[in-house]
Amino acid sequence: MIGFTLRRLVLLLPVFLVVSLVVFFIIHLVPGDPIDNLLRAGSTPEQRLQIAAKYGLDRSLIEQYVTWMGRLLTGDLGTSIIQGRPVSALIARNLPYSLELGVAALLFSTLTGIAAGVIAASYQGTRVDDTITGFILLGSTVPSFWLGLMLILVFAVWLGWVPVSGARGWSSLILPVIAAGLGGIALVARVTRIAMIETSRQDFVMLLHAKGLPPFIIQLRHVLRHAMVPVVTILSLRIGWVLGGAVTIEYVFARPGLGSLLIRALNQRDYPLVQGCLLMLAMAVIIGALIGDIVQAAMDPRQREARA
């Protein structure tokens, strides 16, 4: 198990290199540059060159990449051109909001999704199953920003139970978590349901029934355990989503966060900030997949040999 983990960690190095290249060069595809945003009207070409030199934008892209990479290894993400503050500080200020919303939405959707999937699978083919499957379908087809707006309308405006927007206190977190988590509930419930149904057709489950074990103990202790393997895969793929995918929800509820930071930086062509945000998100995606692999290997010994 330790060997498997170490091998996977070493494999991260080339991936990190590829990611850093993509992240660095993608922003230079965007037309326009940040200097335009800094110059006042009527400034001379000399002033333009000065600013370019100050941020190293006058050097070749290769040179810029090498400098950026060198600083990166010491943990320095550079300075935001527009806001004039270190990128790492800006990310550090926004990250807690993203994490708060993301982790809460992930927990909410995982627990509810697994519960819904288990119930639907246990009552497969009955009206209970149909109802849950219907909700799953509906949950994956409603645009999350629309759901957010409707939740605001009903619970914040008409009923006045929670604040309309902002990020102060746990009550302002309830509606965003529901709006952001619904798609996840649908996904987790669907995967859990199918995995439970498929597992319960296997021979070992038949044997457990033949032994006379109560059905709900079979479902919860044995079938669910096997069915969790694909669920973990799906969850590990959603870690990047947790950090960056809630950008629409942040927008609707006027919350700060990594997604909003990235969008603003993109619009202002703030190269270092865009690169920093993208790098954070990409690393979250990769580390999420890694954790997923390790947890899977721990749960299912067959994968350790197959994938190591």
């Binding site: 993509v22 965007v30 409707m150």
Partner: protein
């Protein structure tokens, strides 16, 4: 093969789920095609005397902040939303078929590079990919089409590649190759036609996701520019009126949700009729 597929489509439509959802989608397409003749009012006719009016008999879905008829704008908006998502997914499927077939058939270094990139983008949220691409290309419908097409490229490339790889080892393909058939013949006459069905069904399901993505980009003000209506753009301009005229947001959102639900139901019916469920599991 073609006859078999036409039969499968008939079988799908004859089921309860397939029939209802097929009928809804057909109505929607007719509405979008004949929008100018079907809308009760011109979509851009303003009447400031009847701003933000609740649904009534004269304006079934109410009016927006410029006194424009919401129903007429939704019918015309269906045109934008459907054409953008269908075009985008069409481009994505074509590119995915070419990339996936090349990777799956020839393998090698090219395959490894493409798959590394695809695996990286795979778990990136589509909305972030699309937002970045629109920032690069610039707002407007062309930008949105390209952004959606690229955001879903990974999915179709992967699905096609898996299909081609599993078909390649079938006995009849090996027999064709040993009879001296060229790469082009094997790919176009044998592999692609057989790989097509699951990819097309996946495309139908992805069209639903693309409608949501288009609405989201429109909501950010990046899609159709005023006065052209799209479901997303309507909700975007409706946000300011959320507390006064909620129907301007409520109804287009419901239209998105219903369309996607019926696309999914119809896709399910086609999957059942074509019996390609097993192929989906492999991918």
């Amino acid at each position: 093969m073609i006859k078999h597929r036409a039969l499968a489509l008939l079988k799908a439509v004859s089921t309860f789920k397939g029939g209802i959802s097929g009928a809804f989608l057909l109505l929607l397409v007719i509405g979008a095609l004949f929008a100018p003749w079907l809308s009760p009012y011109p979509y851009d006719q303003q009447d400031l005397g009847i701003m933000n009016q609740a649904p009534s008999l004269t304006h079934l879905f109410g009016t927006d902040e410029f006194g424009r008829d919401v129903l007429s704008r939704m019918i015309t908006g269906a045109r934008t939303s459907l054409s953008v998502s269908v075009t985008a997914i069409g481009i994505s499927v074509l590119l995915g078929l070419v990339l996936g077939a090349t990777c799956g058939y020839f393998g090698g270094t090219f395959d490894r590079i493409v798959m590394t990139v695809i695996d990286l983008t795979w778990s990136f949220p589509e909305i972030l990919i699309a937002l970045m691409l629109v920032a690069i290309i610039g707002p407007g419908l062309e930008g949105v089409v390209i952004a959606i097409a690229i955001a879903y490229l990974a999915q179709f490339t992967r699905l096609t590649r898996t299909q081609i790889m599993s078909l390649k080892s079938e006995t009849y393909v090996e027999a064709t190759i040993s009879l001296g058939a060229g790469h082009a013949h094997v790919l176009f006459s044998h592999l692609l036609p057989n790989a097509l069905a699951p990819v097309l069904v996946a495309a139908m399901l992805a069209t639903g996701d693309a409608i949501i993505l288009e609405a989201t980009l429109g909501f950010f003000g990046l899609g159709a520019q005023p006065p052209t209506p799209s479901w997303g753009a309507m909700m975007s301009s409706g946000t300011a009126q959320l507390f006064i005229a909620p129907w301007v947001i409520l109804l287009p959102g419901l239209a998105v949700a219903l369309t996607v639900v019926f696309l999914n139901l119809f896709g399910d019916a086609v999957i059942a009729a074509l019996d390609v469920r097993a192929k989906f599991r492999e991918a």
